[in-house]
Each structure stands twice: as structure tokens, then as C-alpha cells.
Amino acid sequence: MKVAYINPFVQASVSVLKTLVGKTPLPGRISARPEIFTTNDVNIVCGVTGDVYGHVLYGMTAETADRIASAMLGETVAEFDQLAASAISELGNIVSGNSLTMLSEKGFMCDISPPTIIEGTNVKIASIDIPVLVIPIDIDDIGSLEIIVCLKHKEASVSKSA
């Protein structure tokens, strides 16, 4: 995967989290993973279609999800209800949307599908031969977030077979 696809996600997650959660997040070192696999309790999955396609996952522990939802809602989330789940989903949607806006400025036109939330650990999503990069993000007093970017350029698959 080209670095060009990953940098917008780092930038967008930092600026979006700052606005929605009110704290400055710290991105860590990006690493590769052989397949889309997550051990997080709560995962938001956003589909990406267009010049660059695939999936982006936002994974976190249940505690982190509670704290992020509380910060977004401006009140403590006692249980992870529909409203809290919706806040976390919307976070994934907004980070994805902002990232794709930055990608469009580099000439890659994409669209996103509405986010899906998956609760439960050891989730494996079958990837269609797409490289997976993971961005760890730490937020003070909130916890850490894992952004799993699994994207491929459309033309790359064409030129591969040519």
C-alpha cells in the first residue's frame, strides 16, 4: 500500500478526535499486518469504494469506547446503548470522510458506505489480497484506538495482471 493512502487517515484522525473528544491524540508507529484481524471489543467498519477501495476498521476496548462516547455526548455513558454505539460509529464515519476528502485532493476519488459496528473480540475479516496497515493512536485519559487501513488502488490490480 502506498503511504499516500495512509497519511490522510493519520491526519484526519488527529484533527477529528481533537474536535470530537477535546483531547490531542498521539499517533504511534504504523505497522503492517498480514490480514484484517482485530482483538478489540468494539470495531467500526467503514467500506470504501472508488479509485481506492477496501475497508477501514476502528478498533478499541469497551472502556475506551465508553470514554469516547461520553466525551462526544458530553455526559457519562453508563451502559453502551444505541446512542453510545451511534456516537462511536459516527466517529468512524467522520474520520473516514475527512480522510477521503484529503485523498480526493491527491486525485483519488472515493466514497464511503455507512459504518457497521461489530462487538466481540477475535474478529477476522476476509481480505481480498489487500495489504493491511495499522495506525495506533493514544488519547490521554481515554485509551488507545487502532485504525486498521486495508485499501488498494484500483489501477494497481489492473496493471498487475497486464
Binding site: 451511534s86 459516527e90 455507512p114
Partner: protein
């Protein structure tokens, strides 16, 4: 009389957030639609003074809903409110008749400014 607003967003969180911002400032939220199809139906029924419209939604997306609403009433005031800020989407929306384009995440003032300006007349 309070100005009447219809909110359109598939995310409950966003509907609650927008409703709080608007009702705290004297606007009446007369309806909440979860997708484009519902927005068109509710627009027809309620005839609100202003509609907020998300783009990425299941069933019918916000651009398609905007076009249908404009076909029902060419004077309809629709403000896009979405996470997708790509130039081509902004151009599509404005060409289809959207009065403003708010990119998420937004500060409450950005929404209030847009709404008060459009409803001042």
C-alpha cells in the same frame, strides 16, 4: 413563531446533537429522518422551513434526496451536513440547489450561523 426544521442523518448521535443545538437556540425540530427516502416523505408531509441533509446514508443518499425535495418545492432550503467534503460533492450539492455545505465535525456555531442566515429573510 419558531422556524421549523427537519433533520436528516442516519446516525442517532448526529440527530441528537443537531436537535440539541437547534432547540437550544429557539428552533423547532419538527421531524427526524434516518435516510433520504424518509426525508423526502417527511418533507412532503411537514413542509419545514429548512432541512439538514447528511449525504452518506442507506436507502437513498443525501444528494438524491436533495434533488427530490427540490423537485417537490424549488424554494426548499436544504443545508448539507456531511463528513464528505470532496470538491465534486460540494459542487454536485450546490448545483442541485443546496444552500450551504457543512463538513463534520462541526462546531455548533457553524450550524447556527448557516441556519440563522438562511432563515433570516
Amino acid at each position: 413563531m419558531a422556524k421549523r426544521i427537519l433533520i436528516t442523518d442516519d446516525a442517532l448521535f448526529m440527530r441528537v446533537t443537531l436537535k440539541n443545538i437547534l432547540t437550544q437556540h429557539g428552533y423547532e425540530v419538527v421531524g427526524e429522518a434516518q435516510n433520504g427516502t424518509e426525508a423526502v416523505k417527511l418533507f412532503q408531509q411537514l413542509r419545514p422551513d429548512l432541512v439538514t441533509m447528511d449525504i452518506t446514508m442507506p436507502e437513498m443518499d443525501g444528494i438524491a434526496a436533495l434533488k427530490e425535495i427540490k423537485a417537490i418545492d424549488s424554494e426548499a432550503v436544504v443545508v448539507m451536513c456531511t463528513a464528505m467534503g470532496q470538491k465534486n460533492m460540494v459542487v454536485d450539492a450546490i448545483q442541485a440547489g443546496a444552500k450551504d455545505f457543512i463538513v463534520k465535525p462541526f462546531q455548533p456555531d457553524r450550524v447556527l450561523e448557516a441556519v440563522s442566515k438562511l432563515l433570516a429573510a
